[in-house]
Amino acid sequence: MKDRVRLCSRCFSLTEDDPCAICTDERRDATLLCVVAEAKDIFALERTAAYRGRYHVLGGLISPMDGIGPAQLRVKELIERITREEPKEVIVATNPNAEGEATALYLSRLIGPSGVPVTRLAYGLPIGGDLDYADEITLAKALEGRRIL
């Protein structure tokens, strides 16, 4: 059963080969880890060609109203990866809405004790807008101007 789309066991992106092409690409910067809500956000960021690090897909955003807490997302896996891979920076690229904001700040609180700096995209993005609707230039600028949480 080749060519079946599955989840990458490292970053949880969608892939045909496990680990995925991004996780196994030696030319990519292993010291940068970008956390996104969904696999589709990776495609938005890849389009900018401004990011050369690796990714981690949470599988959604924290929203207790919808029954989604940290335990429903790949938060534990993220913390384990950070411990194992020791990146120099974790970039949280969640959407600039209330859930995206709370998720980013929650992660920063969790990652804080490890000493790894956590940054967030500088949003010139429209508030309430989605990453995958943002044009490449806006998104690249948001990435470039990311700030420490």
Binding site: P64, G69, A71, A98, E99, E101, G128
Partner: protein, 367 residues
């Protein structure tokens, strides 16, 4: 601000309507259930994107149809403007779209372009009714006035709902997540508290002067007190934020036990006092009503002063609730109104710029 044209499509009992209101006082006369309040609701919807009658927006769409729309042209200080608000029914609930001069915009951009002050019979309970009624008045005024206030209010509401869901146990208890929500609430809540404090101070000065002009010294001064849930001792951003944080810490255990948020501006109130005594407990119904009228005129004046131009005034079935003297006093109080819409079941003894009769969603100008 003057609304010069209003176009409705599938709004409640209006299949379609073209209405060219006059500057000044527009009187809409009609029997019950003919559509006069629906028309006023539509003007409110055009201005604020919200109904003053219902939170179930699907009710606004004519039964059996997929969308309702309100469009209008107005003259505001920067110049003429075209606005529209469309409500579409969908599987996941209603969806609203807004345009300014034909271009789609977000609600935060739309809100405040055509400002309205609404006076409905429910407001007559402002003194004695639940705190939510008084908070709604303050929020409606400030959200129209300030985009920053609206943003803070929206953010606060979202994080509060999530925090409450966490406290209710919809997801596993998580101290770090609770702290995250509390920090978000402090950030937006501090803005709300400071803006409300300034607004109520402004409102009080005006309401008190209006009240004094109406009834003189005999009953003592009318006071409005901002009863903030997080007491403001140092009225600076840092002062309020640290007081809020301290109260959240203090009540953290209690919130976990009670499974709900106990601290913050969602529990604010505004208290009326007359001659130093709480008006809700000690005032006569007449005194309470006069205080409400003074407050509504003060709200109008404050929005006028904040925005630098007269908001549109909507009076839905409220004049008939007032005796002749109070009605006359109120109408004198809002004499500077550039445009006001009044619904009534019978003639109004005021100098109307235009009078319309509404029957079965048909509008006919009669004077």
């Amino acid at each position: 601000m003057i609304l010069t044209r209003l176009t409705l499509a599938n709004v409640r009992n209006y299949a379609s309507l073209e209405f060219a209101p006059a500057p000044g006082l527009n009187v809409l006369i009609g029997a019950n259930a003919q559509g006069k309040s629906n028309l006023l609701e539509a003007i409110g919807l055009l201005g604020t994107g919200k109904s003053f009658r219902t939170s179930r927006e699907s009710e606004i769409v004519t039964t059996g149809l997929p969308t309702a729309s309100v469009a209008g042209e107005a003259v505001v200080k920067p110049g003429p403007i075209r606005l529209s608000c469309t409500i579409a029914l969908g599987a996941g609930g209603t969806r609203k779209r807004y345009t300014i001069n034909g271009r789609g915009v977000r609600y935060a951009t739309y809100l405040g372009k055509l400002r309205v002050v609404t006076f409905v019979p429910a407001h007559l309970q402002l003194v004695t009714g639940p705190p939510a009624l008084r908070r709604a008045l303050v929020n409606a005024a400030l959200a129209q006035e300030s985009a920053a206030y609206y943003a803070a209010l929206a953010s606060y509401g979202k994080h509060l709902a999530q925090k409450n869901a966490l406290l209710r146990g919809l997801v596993a208890a998580d101290e770090a997540l609770l702290t995250t929500y509390n920090e978000r609430l402090i950030e937006s809540g501090t803005e709300l508290i400071l803006a409300r404090r300034a607004f109520v101070t402004e409102l009080e000065a005006r309401a008190s002067a209006i009240h004094h002009a109406w009834v003189g010294d005999v009953e003592g001064d009318l006071e409005l007190l901002y009863a903030a849930n997080v007491a403001v001792e140092v009225p600076t951003h840092d002062g309020v934020a640290s007081a809020f944080a301290a109260r959240l810490d203090e009540q953290r255990a209690a919130e976990l036990v009670r499974k709900t948020s106990l601290v913050g501006p969602h529990r604010d109130d505004v208290e009326f006092r007359l001659g130093g005594r709480p008006l809700a407990a000690f005032g006569s119904q007449g005194q309470q009503r006069t205080a409400v009228l003074a407050l509504k005129v003060a709200e109008y004046e404050t929005l006028f002063a904040y925005g630098g131009e007269a908001p549109i005034l909507l009076l839905d079935d409220v004049l008939s609730e007032l005796d002749g003297e109070r009605r006359a006093a109120f109408l004198r109080g809002v004499a500077t109104v550039e445009q006001v819409f009044v619904t009534t079941t019978s003639e109004v003894d005021a100098r109307a710029a235009a009078t319309y009769r509404i029957e079965a969603a048909q509008l006919e100008r009669v004077a």
